[in-house]
């Protein structure tokens, strides 16, 4: 595939849960190497569903998907996708199912056919990169919320993906931890898409922020990130300015 071809290309994708109106409705998306995109949209607008469609966890009702230049349809097509795209789940407790940190981080590399020694080596390096050296034998459920989030990021990064999909990564994290996550993301040489409700976080980590409505991504209505200093009850949240 050539460099100008999108890594992820969705055409006219639709999806609906049983007995419910479509969450994703004829959605188009082209995601290129080097893209860093923020997705900010109300709850229930289909952001998480979109990520799950890309990973092959849900099957679209109609439309075509091409990922890394190849059409993907069947479960086996997605094995490759899941190796090269890392999805960070909203709830770290869903992602960390092993009792200890090291086992959880090594789980992905082992599944990719690495030997135990290699897997442990990769895991240690990843943990170290995230400032989690010494966490190897910690028990996952005893970690704090921020630590859990960073360890789940480690489990994803240990698979050495080319693209990251991050689903509300700083939800429930304090300033310090989200600041750490910003630093980590800036230092990664990866393309990624982030779902978040925090405009400051998206502003710091992404190049463009899109929104979703009626089951589509609104690319042409890029949200304008603006800075201003004035006091009102909205604080740092996005808000309309009446003029």
């Amino acid at each position: 595939m050539n460099a100008n071809q999108p890594l992820i290309c969705l055409k006219q994708i639709s999806f609906s849960y049983p007995e419910a109106p479509p969450v994703i409705n004829q959605l188009d998306l082209d995601f290129y190497r080097g893209d860093r995109i923020g997705l900010m949209a109300p709850n229930g607008s289909g952001k998480t569903t979109l990520f799950h469609l890309i990973m092959g966890l849900l099957k679209p009702i109609s439309g075509q998907m091409e990922i890394f230049g190849k059409p993907v349809k069947e479960e086996k097509d997605f094995f490759e996708v899941r190796r090269r795209i890392g999805l960070l789940f909203q709830d770290a407790d869903d992602q960390l199912f092993s009792p200890t940190v090291l086992e959880d981080v090594a789980f992905g590399p082992l599944n990719l056919g690495k030997s135990k020694t290699e897997a442990i080596e990769i895991s240690r390096k990843t943990l170290e990169f995230l400032g989690l050296a010494g966490f190897e034998n910690r028990i996952t459920f005893k970690l704090s919320g921020g630590e859990k989030k960073l360890v789940s990021l480690a489990t994803v990064l240990a698979m050495e993906p080319e693209i990251l999909l991050l689903d509300e990564p700083i939800n429930g994290l304090d300033r310090k931890t989200s600041g750490k996550l910003i630093d980590v993301l800036k230092n990664l040489d990866l393309s990624y898409m982030i779902i978040s409700h925090d405009i400051d976080f998206l502003d710091a980590t992404t190049h463009a922020i899109y929104t979703m409505a009626n089951g589509k991504i609104l690319v042409d209505q890029q949200m304008q990130v603006h800075q201003h200093v004035h006091a009102h009850p909205h604080g740092t949240y996005p808000h309309a300015h009446e003029t």
Partner: protein
């Protein structure tokens, strides 16, 4: 989050609540009874594991964890209180998977509370899991019928699972020593209030699941996933 002291208090109450669960202590049963229990439990577990493909592992583990936690709940029944056992519901939700799920929950109980141990693991798994599978076979389909039939079936499922378990305890004791007759009779009798409570709770719980998440119950389509 709770404070440290809360943690300690909870641990104590949880352990105190661990008395009275449907099982047989270590050191009571004879060799042949222990051995038969192990062989049968192993067979049931093997069938259960065969039916658990890796896509359902997470589900079985999670339901086993929920079963473990729910069995810590004690509900009042004047003048005392009883434990929820819930093997009937576990049977409905997991079918033969009840064997490995209950086995695992019992291992956790042994390690956390020292309630039951190595030699009785087989017998105790059998006491809980076989009634679960039988209730599932008898009532699994009926719970989708008309509401009156469905709730009667769910009630019967919950209480039968406890009754069968109590009878199996009785049998295990009798096979060990004929003179255990009185003890067996007391154990079975002591489970009668538990049967009633389990029946009621199972009936309401099944009605709840039918309303909230019918795909969890047997005989309905699996949720839409790849």
């Amino acid at each position: 989050m709770w404070s440290r002291r809360d943690h300690r208090r909870l641990t104590k109450t949880d352990i105190r609540r661990q008395t009275n669960v449907m099982h047989i202590s270590e050191g009571i049963l004879s060799g042949p009874v222990l051995a038969s229990g192990m062989v049968l439990a192993a067979a049931g577990t093997a069938i259960g594991l065969k039916k658990l493909d890796y896509d359902r592992m997470a589900r079985a583990g999670m339901l086993s964890a929920a079963f473990f936690v729910a069995s810590l709940i004690h509900v009042p029944i004047f003048p005392s209180n009883v434990h929820l056992i819930l093997n009937g519901i576990v049977g409905l939700l997991l079918g033969w998977g009840a064997f490995p799920a209950i086995l695992v929950a019992l291992i956790l109980q042994a390690v956390f509370f020292q309630y039951g141990g190595i030699t009785t693991l087989g017998v105790n798994t059998l006491i809980m899991a076989l009634p679960a599978v039988i209730s599932y076979g008898l009532f699994g389909r009926l719970i989708h019928k008309r509401p009156t039939i469905a709730s009667t079936a769910a009630f019967a499922c919950g209480s039968l699972a406890v009754l069968l378990g109590a009878l199996m305890i009785g049998l295990a004791l009798m096979f060990t020593e004929e003179n255990f007759w009185h003890v067996s009779a007391i154990v079975v009798a002591a489970h009668i209030p538990v049967m009633i409570v389990e029946g009621i709770v199972t009936a309401i719980c099944v009605a709840f699941l039918k309303k909230v998440q019918p795909t969890m119950l047997p005989g309905s389509a699996r949720p839409q996933t790849l």
